[in-house]
Structures are given as structure tokens and as C-alpha cells.
């Protein structure tokens, strides 16, 4: 469960990104975060895995109070949250296989488990034949799928995706959304910040709209609600 209470975030340069956010997301939900550019979607998402700290207010992830989380414990929080980044954040010198395996090496998995699980997720995202390529040799869509594979490989309770289809053509976007749906079916919470009207309107889920740093709309099976 994810819980935010009166969360404010002002950056060092004076920009206020979030202006009093209250929200509760239950385990196993699929949530779209929508809203205009610069409305605070990315900040909202980054707060959840402690890439950013709130200026005030409290955030709970599975009963862990992030405001009280010690610096040293942050890695353990992040291991329970798979994050798919808009800019992929792949390690440029490592192969696709090594990039995904890294998330498992960090939790000291056995080499055999690492091999099996990496091959499994490569199957899921359809990149088995690219295991040895380095990120630069892949298309944007393929890199995005590597990023997804890394996010789900250690079977986290929560998967957070910041514009995962932002750079992709519609067909690839659909594939990726289907991947998220199947992860969600297995009980994982999926939180997806997106600009894609097509996806939000086609795969109906809970929609949270953020405008000017506050939640403007929170609907079950909602619409995208903005003109593209």
C-alpha cells in the first residue's frame, strides 16, 4: 500500500512541484498518473522510491515511513520497487543480460537463479535474442523493454513507470502495456505516469490527474481527459 499525507515538494531553485497531495493506492492496483507537462507527475513518482525527498508531509510504502527512512536503508526500499525510467537508465557498458542481472546481483542471488530469472524476463519482454547486445545497439523500444525487464526481474511488490511509452511507436506501446497488465495480474501494484491518451482510454484503469501540484481528479476506470 502506498499512502501520501499532505505532501509538499519545493525544489532548491524555488519551483514548487507538489502542493499538498493526499492519496492512497492499494496493493495490486493499476494506476495511471496523468496531467500536463510540468504538473508534478515525475516528482510524484520520484518521491515513492526516494529519488526525491518531500519538503513536508509523509509518505508510507508498505508501512515504511519514508521520512524516517535512514540513508543506509534506501537501497532495501528500492529493491522492493521496480522502476522503469523514461530515459531507461541502462548501464551503457553492460550487455542487456548484465543490465538485468545487476538488479539480482545487488540482492546477492545465486548465479543459477540469476541466469534462470534473467532468461525468463527476457522471454517476457521478447528480447531473448538480444541478450548479448549493449544498449547502444538497441532501438528505443528495445531499451525500454530492457528497463522493464530489470524492473520486474526481482519480482517487486510495486512497479513504477515514468512515461514508459514516451519514446515509442503505438504498436510497441501496446506491447509494453500488455506486459504491465500481465505483471499487474500477478498481484503487483503498477503505477504509470503517462501522456498517452490512446492507452489510458483503451485500457481503462484508475486515473489520477495532477495539475499545478495538486490532485485534480481521481477516478476508477477514468478517461485521459486532456486534448493531445
Amino acid at each position: 500500500m502506498i499512502l501520501m499525507k499532505d505532501v509538499y515538494k519545493t525544489y532548491a531553485n524555488g519551483v514548487t512541484a507538489l502542493n499538498g497531495v493526499n492519496v492512497k493506492i492499494e496493493q495490486g492496483e493499476f494506476v495511471y498518473i496523468v496531467g500536463p507537462s510540468g504538473a508534478g507527475k515525475s516528482t510524484f513518482v520520484k518521491l515513492m522510491f526516494r529519488e526525491e525527498k518531500p519538503s513536508s508531509g509523509q509518505i508510507f510504502i508498505n508501512d515504511i515511513n519514508l521520512s524516517e527512512l535512514k540513508e543506509k536503508k534506501i537501497p532495501y526500499l528500492r529493491r522492493n520497487i521496480g522502476v522503469v525510467f523514461q530515459d531507461f537508465k541502462l548501464l551503457p557498458k553492460l550487455s542487456v543480460y548484465e543490465n538485468i542481472a545487476f538488479a539480482l546481483e545487488v540482492i546477492e542471488e545465486s548465479p543459477r537463479n540469476i541466469r534462470n530469472r534473467v532468461m525468463d524476463v527476457l522471454e517476457v519482454v521478447g528480447l531473448k535474442n538480444k541478450a548479448r547486445s549493449i544498449p547502444d545497439e538497441l532501438s528505443g523500444g528495445e531499451q525500454q523493454r530492457v528497463s522493464i525487464a530489470r524492473a520486474i526481474v526481482n519480482r517487486p511488490k510495486i512497479v513504477i513507470a515514468d512515461e514508459p511509452t514516451g519514446n515509442l511507436d503505438p504498436e510497441t506501446s501496446l506491447d509494453i502495456l500488455k506486459t504491465f497488465e500481465s505483471i499487474n495480474d500477478s498481484g503487483t501494484t503498477v503505477i504509470m505516469a503517462t501522456h498517452s491518451k490512446a492507452i489510458v482510454n483503451r485500457f481503462k484503469k484508475r486515473v489520477i490527474a495532477i495539475e499545478d501540484g495538486v490532485i485534480a481528479r481521481d477516478e476508477q476506470r477514468g478517461e485521459y481527459g486532456y486534448e493531445v
Binding site: K89, L91, K93, I107, E108, S110, P111
Partner: protein, 297 residues
């Protein structure tokens, strides 16, 4: 940390050495240059020290006993000298012993002195050594005051000059080595800092995927240590090959018995080991110093 994770860090550290190509070359080059300087200075200073010690150990006071002293006077004088504070050993050397020493010391020319064996004009003597060579002059002054002492000989000026020189050499040597080691650490930490700066994005990514600081640090430690070890290969080769020649050359050129280099074995091996250790330590230290500020994400 599990052992297999440690092996993983070693593997990653090693492959980073290769992946970083020119960065590695720069870093290893910095270590090599510094270690060569450190090795040369260390060898020089340790040898100077050794020579200084040899000279100091050789300093003795020759107390010439006048010809009027009978056996009992000589014995008394011997006892008096032994009681002086700071005296280590007192040997009696008869005038015949003294003449023999003179003849041996002169080599072939010494043969001429053999004529004197019939009617030896030399004095009996006490050969006195101080516990601490620096006390030599003080002891000599006290001996001068005793009865039946004709003359006290200990090469006053030479000894004082030598002590001064030795003290300077040691101080300068230690200061130079410390300065060199710090320069090396600075150079290496700078090189590794550049390496890490180039990889700060990667470190950020690792942290976002849930890596602990230690998990990120270990491969850098190992990489830094390897830079140090790789950087010590050339200096060690130079020591092992070069010292051999230096030892030979000095043995051939110089015949003063106090100018004697420390024997090759085990000195060259010990020095090599020391250089290896210094290399590894500055490598690790350099990486520790430079990685700290990149871990705050």
C-alpha cells in the same frame, strides 16, 4: 557479504580495468612514475643510513699509554676508563698489536715498517668504544684527564662532520619520502576521480536499482588496488635488475670499507615487497578518497 558476491566484485573490478582503457593507462602511469621515484629514494636513504651506521660503529677512541706506565698503572687506567659513563668496550692493544695493525693497513708498503719489529717505538693502547657513538667526544675528553695517557686519538673533526651529515641525510630522506607518497596519493585520487566522474551517471543508476554503497565501492577498491599493483611492476623490475648493477659497480669502484651497499638479497626483495605494498595502499586510498562524494543519491 557472501563470498560469491566478493568474487563478483573482483570480476567487475578486473573487467573495469580493461573497459576503461586509457584511464587505466593514465592511472597506472602515475603510480609507476611515483613508485620509481620512491624506490630510488628509499634505496638511497636506506643505504646512506646503513653506511652512516657502519661509520658510527667504527668510531673508536685510541688511548695511547705513555712509556713510563708500568703494568699496574696500565691496569688502573683500564679500570678507570671502563667506569666512565657510556663506555661500551675497552680493549688492550699492546705496541706489537698496534705495529701489526699498521703493517696490515699499509699493504705492501707496510713491509718497510717491519724493520721496527726489533725496537718498537709505538705505545701500548686502549681501544675504547662508546655505547652511543655520539658520546665519543665527551668520553675522549674524560680519558685525557687520566694519568699516563699520552694522547687520545679519534679523528675528532671527521667524526663530528659525519654525525652532522648523517642527521641531515636522514631528515631530508624521510621528508622527501613522505612528500612523494602524498604526491602519489594525490595524483592517483585525481586520476580515479576523473574515472569516477565519467561514471557518476552509472553510479547513480546503480543506486536507483537498489545497490548499497558498499556494493558500488568494492569494484572501485579492487580497481584502485590493481592500479597500484600494476603500477609497481616496472619499479620492482627496475629494483631487481638495477640494484644488482649498482651493487657490482660500487663494489668495483670504491674501496673504502665503509662505503658498502646493503647486500642484494634480501634487501632488493624486501624493497620490492615494500613498493608493492605502497602501490596497493595508495591505489586503494586514492579510490576511497575520490568515490565518497559520488555516493549521495
Amino acid at each position: 557479504m557472501k563470498f560469491r558476491t566478493f568474487l563478483r566484485h573482483v570480476r567487475v573490478g578486473c573487467s573495469n580495468i580493461i573497459r576503461n582503457g586509457w584511464m587505466t593507462v593514465a592511472s597506472v602511469g602515475a603510480v609507476t612514475t611515483t613508485l620509481i621515484l620512491v624506490a630510488v629514494f628509499l634505496a638511497l636513504i636506506l643505504n646512506l643510513n646503513e653506511m652512516a651506521k657502519n661509520i658510527e660503529d667504527d668510531v673508536e677512541i685510541q688511548t695511547l699509554i705513555d712509556h713510563t706506565a708500568n703494568e699496574k698503572d696500565v691496569q688502573n687506567l683500564g679500570n678507570q676508563i671502563e667506569e666512565i659513563n657510556g663506555v661500551d668496550t675497552v680493549f688492550f692493544s699492546s705496541n706489537d698489536d698496534e705495529l701489526n695493525k699498521l703493517i696490515e693497513g699499509m699493504g705492501e708498503e707496510g713491509e718497510a715498517w717491519k724493520l721496527l719489529e726489533q725496537d718498537n717505538p709505538l705505545n701500548h693502547a686502549f681501544i675504547v668504544r662508546a655505547k652511543n657513538p655520539q658520546d665519543t667526544e665527551k668520553i675522549a675528553d674524560q680519558i685525557k684527564e687520566f694519568d699516563h695517557v699520552e694522547k687520545v686519538v679519534f679523528g675528532q673533526d671527521v667524526v663530528e662532520q659525519l654525525f652532522k651529515f648523517n642527521n641531515y641525510a636522514r631528515t631530508i630522506g624521510v621528508v622527501l619520502i613522505v612528500a612523494l607518497v602524498f604526491t602519489a596519493i594525490f595524483l592517483i585520487s585525481n586520476t580515479i576521480k576523473i574515472t569516477i566522474m565519467a561514471r557518476s551517471k552509472e553510479i547513480g543508476i546503480m543506486k536507483l536499482v537498489g545497490a548499497t554503497n558498499w556494493f558500488i565501492r568494492w569494484p572501485f577498491f579492487i580497481e584502485g588496488m590493481l592500479h597500484g599493483i600494476l603500477g609497481s611492476i616496472l619499479p620492482i623490475t627496475l629494483i631487481l635488475v638495477g640494484y644488482h648493477y649498482v651493487e657490482d659497480a660500487i663494489a668495483k669502484q670504491v674501496s673504502f670499507n665503509f662505503v658498502e651497499v646493503i647486500p642484494y638479497s634480501p634487501f632488493a626483495w624486501q624493497l620490492s615487497l615494500l613498493i608493492l605494498a605502497i602501490g596497493a595502499i595508495i591505489g586503494i586510498w586514492g579510490s576511497v578518497m575520490s568515490i565518497r562524494k559520488f555516493l549521495k543519491i
